[in-house]
Amino acid sequence: MRIISRLDIKNSNLIKGINLEGLRIVGEPNKYATKYYKEGIDEIIFMDAVASLYGRNNLYEIISEASKNIFIPITVGGGIRSIDDALKAFKFGADKVAVNTAAVENKNLINLLSEKFGSQSIVVSIEAKKIKNNTWEVFTNNGRQETGLNVVDWVADCENRGAGEILLTSVDMEGTGKGFDYDLYSTVTKSTSIPLIASGGFGKPSDLSKLNNCSKIDAIAIAYAFHYNKCSLLDVRNEALKSKIKIRQLD
């Protein structure tokens, strides 16, 4: 199990919302990223929260700065719409790019990116909203735009097109700290063989064990609970050890 810190960025600030809405400023992104790195976080995801709305991306400066001091995998998402956008992200120090809106609009983008850069560097970010029992729909533009796509079908399609990993965010639970959408992850991990990152809802260490017991999840992304000091990485790691979940061994 990988424990990932997710930093949502607006302009040059680290921000956090609830259900991907109502964004509030938390602080300076690299201050938080460096802190998590030093504590032993496994990976970092920088996500531009407004790029896909306005078609711009302010992340490059932040990533470039991060990659001077942070020597763990960095994923960059938000506003990646083309091979050129991805190239730019890699050039500034990203190891993986996450695509969402642009991939839904042009599914072939996933094929193009994975052929060019290899599956391992292509993450498809999916925003899922529950629409009825055991059915989730794919949304884009921070949970605002419905797409008519079923989440399970879209994950399978992404896998076939060469995605290396799926970042699956529950819009319903995101920013609430009330726990994961367990049914979502239990359902989706049954039908996919590529790694899946659960994002949205983590509020306390026991949420990790609960998620691990009901799904074959590979990683969790934590934002709210870390940014607002609801718990520390050490608390999460101790929970994992207690529940015999295999995590990275720190020195």
Binding site: R2, D42, F71, E115, G118, S193, K216, D218, I247
Partner: protein, 206 residues
């Protein structure tokens, strides 16, 4: 004087590697200049993506024979990272069959995920490596490194695989070594302190 060169063939995040080397107090150059490569004291062959594409790029930039000359005739230290490690071998079965550099005899094959439903491909994550041979690597025994790969490097001579890690019931070759040539499946530039220590070890080897 040390001259560390990172081979630039449009294949992967080279900036992190350069910055990792800066972090350990050394400087490096990202280059595809044949003379710079041959004159380097330590050469790093990085790489992400598909094997066939990477070999095509090495050929496109006329680097295939240069790297072989550096490693096999001049016998200077060479480190292949991830796909760069796989390229050191004779052939790969990734999307067809491709000839590699053939510096170390062996083949690159897909991770077999049929034995355990928990095994996912690509394998992404941190694993502790077990050093089985070469006492000088002992300092990295049981240390965690970051892996991201779908294929593995199997050396013909088992003594040339000096470390592995466990991925459920699979043994993943993690470091291979033949004389002056080292390959690591993990990304040292992404493996936090242990990774930087590994880069330091290579850059200070003779």
């Amino acid at each position: 004087m040390k001259k560390i060169v990172i081979v630039d063939y449009d294949c992967g995040n080279l900036l992190s590697l350069k910055r990792g080397i800066e972090k350990i107090g050394l400087t490096s150059e990202i280059s595809r200049d044949q003379n710079k490569i041959l004159n380097s004291t330590h050469l790093i062959l990085p790489g992400v993506g598909a094997f066939g594409n990477a070999m095509d790029l090495l050929k496109k930039f006329d680097l295939e024979n240069i790297i072989k000359k550096y490693a096999l005739e001049m016998k200077k230290p060479l480190l292949g990272i991830c796909l760069g490690m796989q390229l050191l071998l004779s052939k790969s079965f990734e999307f067809g069959e491709h000839e590699g550099l053939g510096i170390i005899n062996g083949k690159v094959i897909k991770i077999n995920h049929s034995t355990n439903s928990k095994i996912k491909v690509p394998n992404i994550g941190w694993s502790e490596i077990k050093i089985e041979k070469e006492k000088s690597f002992e300092t990295f025994n049981n240390k965690s490194f970051y892996f991201v790969h779908s294929f593995i490097s199997v050396t013909e001579n088992k003594n040339e695989t000096i470390a592995h890690c466990n991925y459920y019931d699979l043994k993943i070759p993690s470091i291979i070594k033949k004389n002056n040539v080292i390959g690591c499946q993990f990304h040292p530039e992404k493996s936090s302190k242990n990774g930087l220590r590994f880069l330091e070890y290579f850059c200070n080897s003779n």
